[in-house]
């Protein structure tokens, strides 16, 4: 039992470890590509203009708006679960005052980065009565559809502006973009190092002599657990690296 007959299993162990490492490296490579996807924004964020909005042509005097279309559904237990259907940036013209100088902005087509906390607040129910009122629609197959909108750049507020460069659109942000990008890129790098270290640790444990002994078996189980666990972590990292204009909101009421 347990170790039973292990004669001639080395080749199968090599195949299993080969699969493990191919996919470990693929997940690491994908994380590095996600990280690289933020590189050009990081370069632009170093030259970001920080200023005060003095004029804004958007409705209610705002420069830009980040919107998330959502559908909320419930099974009738009083809880509404939201899924994101689309993320949208809407920008208007305006004037930014930077160190006493005024700069005209045209934000059509720009990426709009809201404060994510502000978006969470905008997505929360206003009252228990509002939750009650949407339950009947949320119970239907189509669900209850809504758009969560967060304004960025109300007159008098501070925003960060990254001008368009080549094919890349301008970015107007309510949060400090350089710090955000650095944190995310650091997290990606940390993930890659941690992933490789854990994979190496599990592999080393599996290779502890005697081959297929108790310690080796623990290593084999750790390799399997790692393989199953690292994939959702890789996807979670990809999602965490989505820029604030596309970050998932989801959430629930109740």
């Amino acid at each position: 039992m347990w170790g039973a007959d292990t004669q001639g299993l080395e080749v199968f162990a090599a195949i299993a470890l080969g699969f493990l490492w191919i996919h470990t490296l693929l997940i690491a490579y994908a994380a590095l590509l996600d990280r690289r996807g933020l590189a050009s924004r990081l370069a632009r964020a170093r030259e970001a203009v920080v200023g005060t909005v003095v004029e804004a042509a958007g409705p209610e005097g705002v420069l830009a708006r980040a919107e998330v279309d959502q559908v909320g559904r419930t099974k009738g237990d009083g809880v509404v679960h939201f899924a994101d259907r689309a993320h949208r940036s809407v920008g208007w013209a305006g004037v930014l005052e930077v160190g006493g100088e005024r700069h005209s902005l045209a934000l059509e087509g720009a990426e709009v980065w809201p404060e994510l906390d502000a978006r969470e607040r905008a997505a929360a129910p206003e009252s228990a009565a509002q939750l009650e009122s949407v339950l009947p629609q949320a119970k239907r197959a189509k669900g209850w559809r809504r758009t969560v909108a967060v304004d960025v750049g109300a007159v008098g507020s501070t925003v960060y502006y990254l001008p368009a460069r080549g094919q890349e659109p301008a970015i107007v942000s309510a949060l400090e973009p350089l710090g955000w990008l650095r944190t995310k890129r650091r997290a990606a790098l940390l993930f890659v190092f941690a992933e490789l270290a854990v994979a190496a640790g599990c592999t080393a444990l599996a290779l502890v002599p005697p081959a297929f002994g108790w310690v080796s078996m623990l290593g084999g189980a750790a390799c399997l657990g790692f393989f199953l666990g690292v994939q959702p972590l890789g996807v979670a990292l990809t999602d965490a690296l989505r820029t604030p204009d596309r970050a998932y909101l989801r959430g629930r009421w109740g």
Binding site: M1, W2, G3, A4, D5, T6, Q7, G8, L9, V11, F12, A13, I15, A16, F19, I22, H23, L26, I27, Y29, A30, L33, D69, V71, R73, T74, K75, G76, V79, V80, H81, A83, D84, R85, A86, K139, A141, F212, M217, G220, A221, L224, F227, Q231, P232, G234, V235, A236, T238, R250, R252
Partner: protein, 325 residues
């Protein structure tokens, strides 16, 4: 709806199964279980050939999951639920996950706004072979996270219970085998289980990458080899499967010739999956460009008796939920 033209599927209904053709699927699963269990209990059977065969049949087991979750194999609802547990062990995931992930989400493509959990857009390596290898690492977690979210609000009365039962059976039996013989089970049961589950995810990439999921007829790639489709239970005919999700798999070949071939861009009919894989992922390093289809397109190719995409979606949703009960 098309008439049943397959001799296997059209004769008088047999006693246990809904159609005679289902015995092919039962046979596939029986062979697969033999390939999984023999090496655990008979060490002399531990060789590369058995492992390779188990991996291949694991993929076929996932094909059977797909078909069974569209239309249950047996007359008896209870037997269909038990069969789902049997299939779940073969794939090391609860077969009922297919209801939300495949029947309700994948069949909608991206029509609902957010990406299909198994959309080809989830991978973006320059070297195309890496996309094929990596795809399950992304589509798998997105699928299971999506299933959890769906289960949180779904009003389906038995889904969560059945999903848990299948999980307990699949992981419980695998765990028991590991307790009996850890290494034999890891190499000859778990490896094939994972291989098949991951390959069925890869099929999403193979069948839809570079096609146009917004199109009525050009959304899928078809693999039309006869031998391939015999063992794959007609899963090579993917366009017609999307357009008529309720059609039994045994009828897909004829419907493909009748409805799809005259309307679809012929580049989406591939005679051989092996040749396609070699050409696309080994001989060609880069991901091919997205197909550009002719302007005549969908409008000219409308099939009068085919309901609109939205109506078909709603019908397929209702059928999927009913089948799951």
């Amino acid at each position: 709806m098309a008439t049943a033209t397959s001799s296997a599927g059209s004769a008088a209904a047999p006693r246990l199964v809904r159609r005679r053709a289902e015995w092919r699927q039962i046979g596939i699963v029986a062979v697969y279980w033999s390939l999984l269990l023999t090496p655990v209990f008979v060490p002399a059977a531990r060789n590369l050939l058995v492992l390779a065969a188990a991996c291949y049949f694991s993929f076929l087991n996932s094909v059977v999951i797909h078909n069974h979750l569209h239309q249950g194999i047996f007359h008896s609802k209870r037997l269909n639920l038990v069969w789902r547990a049997v299939l779940s062990f073969g794939a090391l995931y609860p077969a009922s996950a297919n209801i939300p992930s495949h029947n309700l989400v994948h069949h909608h493509f991206d029509d609902d706004g957010d990406l299909d959990w198994a959309s080809p857009a989830h991978v973006g390596f320059g070297w195309n072979l890496l996309n094929l290898l990596h795809f399950p690492n992304v589509a798998g977690p997105r699928t299971f996270a999506g299933v959890q979210r769906w289960a949180a609000w779904s009003r389906h009365p038995t889904f969560v219970r059945q999903y848990r039962l299948e999980s307990v059976f699949a992981f419980g039996l695998t765990g028991a085998l590991m307790a009996f013989d850890f290494w034999g089970t890891l190499f000859f049961v778990v490896l094939p289980q994972l291989y098949g589950a991951r390959c069925i995810l890869r099929i999403n990439l193979i069948q839809h990458d570079r096609a146009d999921t917004a199109s009525e007829w050009n959304h899928s790639r078809n693999f039309v080899g006869r031998g391939f489709n015999w063992i794959m239970c007609n899963n090579g005919y993917h366009t017609i499967h999307h357009n008529r999700a309720g059609m039994h798999w045994s009828e897909l070949a004829d419907a493909h010739s009748r409805e799809v071939v005259p309307r679809m861009d012929p580049r989406l009919d591939e005679p051989s999956m092996v040749a396609y894989l070699l050409r696309t992922y080994l001989l060609n390093l880069r991901r091919p460009a997205k197909f550009v289809f002719g302007a005549a397109g969908d409008a000219a190719a409308q099939l009068p008796e085919l309901a609109s995409r939205a109506v078909r979606r709603a019908e397929a949703d209702a059928a999927a939920v009913a089948e799951a009960s």
